[in-house]
Symmetry: C2
Subunit: 365 residues, 2 copies
DNA sequence: AATCTTTATGTAAAGGTTTTCATAAACGCA
DNA sequence: TGCGTTTATGAAAACCTTTACATAAAGATT
């Protein structure tokens, strides 16, 4: 496009030096009333607006933060992002959003849709962003690659970095960890207290910490209750509705006689419920469902979905605080944990076997 | 954070000029093998990475595009954004995402959460982004303010701008318009063909073009079919599940005897179905539902939601093409239209009155 | 009237890079 | 040996702004 108006042009037009124009625009230093007016008029007339690149070059800050996330189309991430953006904007920062599509089946299938996190780190460095937020992704891969670890360490040495995910020792970031296990244990105990004995687990990717943690907690809880924990009760895949649907089909095809199931998140729960319905089963009459990570519209689904609230609002606030703190140098590398909570709605009830009355007599359904 | 390594430091360390280092890094010009190796080692050892700000200052391009949208947490926008981001990244561009929260009840309620579009325009100008994409927002306000119009014109004169929304005459942007009316007419005709005569309309904000267009098409279609078009059949509010829920409550409280309803989008449809359920009504046995803008998981809901597909995938591709084209100077201000299509699933069936058989005999439910 | 202060403005450096132009050395060829 | 050509490298300008410092004029103080 056409070259834009520079401070020099305004200066020439007003027969003053560029320093004077700068003083007028930034209201710094002293300028006589007459000169000020002349310059202000020229600025308005020509539509002068300062070049942020030149400013950043001098001030050494870009008022920009990088956010690297697996997939913003995932409602969990988009809700979190919105929260963060609001706070960032209010603090005067802009956000550059980078999707890695790391946690998604398309990535697994080898379709390379975006850049890797390492590549994004390099770009953040070049662009001199004031700080970086990394949400999940490779950090949550159980067998994390050494090159990723090195890249993250390098980044964190050069600029403030906040990570939402599994903490890695000796990497100088602020780590924010979602404590998922506790919520899952609560959920399993709740299902057991309703009388369920065979509880399935659906969705999530093997090899990802979040899934591994939740799956581990599920097994621990079952073991503590002396309930069966067969491998055939577990079906992992990914994090979307289609994956829940597929998991449901697989579990049913296996002929597993579960009366309750944990879904890794709301989307998976949705797909799972759909698969059950297609198989002639009703929730919660035939099968009870709990989502391990509620983030959206759970209370409007039919039936209203019982789930674990990971307190994402709080998480969002912690993230912002940590990130802005790190940028301003007021927060140190640290580990912050968020505690989840079970929200009971309508998608669970005692199993038929344990309860003599018929499904037709059930309330609300 | 600590100052980063500059080209000058590498140059000094290798006893060469900065020009030589630049030549090595960018593989331009001629450099002797010995020097090249020495410099490359120093670059690797010190972890030199060029300052993109300085580069942009010279090259007059930032490889950054601005995206201004109402609310990325809305699945419609996040899906679109993901599409656009993939293409942008592949073309080497980064995206700065700005939420205005313009279309959202929180904005209406006067809570100022973000910047206005005008403010974002100014920021885009200052940051010298290579192009801007504006999705909806004030452009879709029926009574658009003059100051907004002026700001958009100013922006479009200075950099490439693509707008998804209502085209405004004499503003030099590429406008991409979603043709919503046609889909709504198809939907109404479909409901009428099933035998519905009293069809409600739920959700959307009054004063917004998308809502106005769809509402207008709804009224036109009803009029053409000589069906009733009472005001009490219409309940607007906003675009989220809570709004659909509320609209449902209002319609039911009014005692309106509708047998079918159009929801402005999937989220509203979800809330509306929940409200009906809470009132003891089933979809589709008692009320048929169609979403005017399907974007997510419609096929997993219970019942599977019939809706109008606005072909957002195609839209995304058009947007990317237009934006990159505008940035590279290969596309002119223009008007592009997308045609919608009705996708029939399970949420509609003939009304009880028109069909003698009982709800219990209905298939699939 | 001489000196000190304040006010207004300009000059120039700095920020990090790319790129054009200039220079110098090495090389090929008659 | 001398001249033209290629190869390797450096110097300096340009991009746009902010800011420290310098300068000059005007005003205040003795």
């Amino acid at each position: 496009m056409g070259k834009s108006v520079t401070i020099r042009e305004i200066a020439e037009e007003c027969h003053v030096s560029i320093a004077t124009v700068s003083r007028v625009f930034n209201d710094s230093g002293t300028v006589s009333a007459a000169t000020r007016q002349r310059v202000e008029e020229a600025i308005a007339r020509r539509g002068y607006t300062p070049n942020a690149l030149a400013r950043s070059l001098i001030s050494d800050q870009t008022m920009t933060l990088g956010v690297i996330a697996p997939d913003i189309a995932n409602p969990y991430f988009s809700a979190l992002f919105t929260l963060i953006e609001q706070a960032a904007i209010q603090a005067g920062y802009f956000l550059v959003l980078c999707n890695t599509f790391y946690i998604s089946s398309s990535y697994q299938q080898g379709q390379r849709m975006a850049r890797t996190e390492e590549e994004y780190f390099e770009m953040m460095l070049r662009r001199k962003v004031d700080g970086v937020l990394v949400i999940g992704g490779q950090i949550d891969v159980v067998e994390m690659s050494q090159s990723y670890r090195a890249a993250l360490t390098n980044l964190a040495r050069r600029m403030p970095v906040v990570v939402i995910g599994r903490p890695i020792p000796d990497v100088p970031c602020v780590f924010i960890e979602k404590e998922s296990g506790g919520g899952v244990i609560t959920a399993v105990n709740y299902l057991a207290s309703l009388g369920h004995r065979r509880i399935a687990f659906a969705g999530g990717e093997p090899g990802i910490t979040i899934t591994a943690t939740r799956l581990g907690a599920y097994r621990d809880a079952l073991a503590a209750l002396r309930l069966p924990c067969d491998e055939e009760l577990v079906c992992l895949s990914d994090y979307y509705a289609k994956d829940g649907y597929q998991a449901g089909q697989v579990l049913l095809a296996r002929g597993v006689d579960f009366t309750a199931a944990l879904a890794i998140n709301d989307s998976v729960a949705l797909g799972l419920m759909r698969a059950l319905k297609d198989h002639g089963l009703s929730v919660p009459q035939d099968v009870s469902i709990i989502s391990c990570d509620q983030f959206y519209n759970s209370e409007y689904l039919i039936p209203r979905l019982t789930g674990i609230d990971q307190h994402n609002e709080l998480l969002g606030k912690l993230v912002i605080q940590a990130l802005l703190g790190a940028v301003h140098g007021t927060s140190e590398p640290a580990l912050i944990k968020c505690m989840p909570e079970l929200v009971v709605r309508e998608s669970c009830q005692p199993p038929r076997q344990a309860v003599p009355r018929e499904g037709a007599a059930m309330p609300n359904q």
